[in-house]
């Protein structure tokens, strides 16, 4: 269907911002995971996922995001989310994701708190 996830990456020093657009399901979640792991292997320690253009998620996609958080934590990194719709934020709370990652209202406050400087 036409809601296939699109990803864009912006490197910021030793961190990166991933911009998602579309449905985060199993396929979209795997795509985010693969890109995140590539960035981890390239030395990125802080990731921010900007979900401004994502209006729908499912529990399988979120379970993959939890795996990314675990991997980041294992490697001493940090993962944050910003620009969530209220319903996506509520779904994150239900699944416990909010206990393991920071959630920010907007990109500006996320970048400031996570220390993601422009390269």
């Amino acid at each position: 269907m036409s809601d296939e996830l699109k990803l864009a990456v912006e490197r910021r020093g030793d961190g990166a911002v991933l911009y998602t657009k579309g449905y985060i399901n199993n396929v979209g979640g795997e795509e985010i995971a693969n890109r995140s792991y590539e960035l981890l292997d390239a030395g990125v320690t802080t990731l921010l996922l900007n979900l401004k253009e994502t209006k729908i998620v499912n529990s399988i996609g979120i379970s993959i995001l939890i795996e990314i958080i675990e991997k980041m934590m294992e490697k001493g990194g940090r993962l944050g989310f910003c620009c969530l719709t209220p319903v996506i934020q509520k779904t994150f709370q239900i699944m416990g994701l909010a206990q393991y990652a920071s959630i920010y209202a907007d990109e500006e406050s996320a970048i400031k708190d996570l220390g993601l400087q422009k390269s």
Binding site: M1, D3, Y23, N25, V27, K55, I56, V57, N58, S59, I60, I62, S63, I66, E67, E70, T85, P86, V87, K90, T91, I94, M95, G96, L97, Q99, Y100
Partner: protein
């Protein structure tokens, strides 16, 4: 004031990847047409997505179809009500076991799978499940406030 006429819709969808989006769009269109808030519509869409995924992933049905029925009503001058029935002709499941499983969590971090029912219940006002060896029906209700 004359009560708003019922709006009903039925859909039969094949169990193919991402078909839950079609179901969510149908629910969303009805909710919007009824005048529900963006957040209520969005919650209903997420609940419908989870119900369809459960049907697709766990029903093991031969016909590989999901049967949906939507009904929008206005029970009084202030209230909107959207009911959704999501049915499969699969083998059913043990609801008590499913409810017990969802309480379990890993000691090594957050539980990753099996959140569908909890998400449906959190996003909808009522969730009822009837299940047996001839299939499963999930009936969900979302209430909204009518704009006066």
């Amino acid at each position: 004031m004359t009560p708003q006429a019922d709006r009903q819709m039925e859909l039969t969808l094949p169990m193919v990847p991402d078909i839950e989006i079609a179901a969510a769009r149908a629910a969303g269109n009805l909710g919007r047409e009824m005048g529900m808030s963006v957040e209520d519509v969005d919650e209903m869409a997420h609940a419908v997505v989870e119900a369809c995924i459960n049907a697709r992933e766990h029903s093991c049905c031969v016909d590989q179809r999901i049967y949906l029925r939507f009904r929008g009503t206005s029970p009084d001058v202030q209230t909107l009500k959207v009911e959704v029935w999501i049915t499969d002709n699969g083998q059913g499941f043990n609801l008590d076991e499913a409810r017990l499983r969802r309480r379990g969590s890993s000691n090594n971090g957050p539980k990753k799978r099996g959140w569908g029912l909890q998400i449906m219940e959190a996003h909808m006002d009522e969730v009822e499940i009837s299940t047996g060896d001839k299939g499963t029906t999930v009936r969900m209700v979302k209430y909204g406030e009518k704009k006066l």
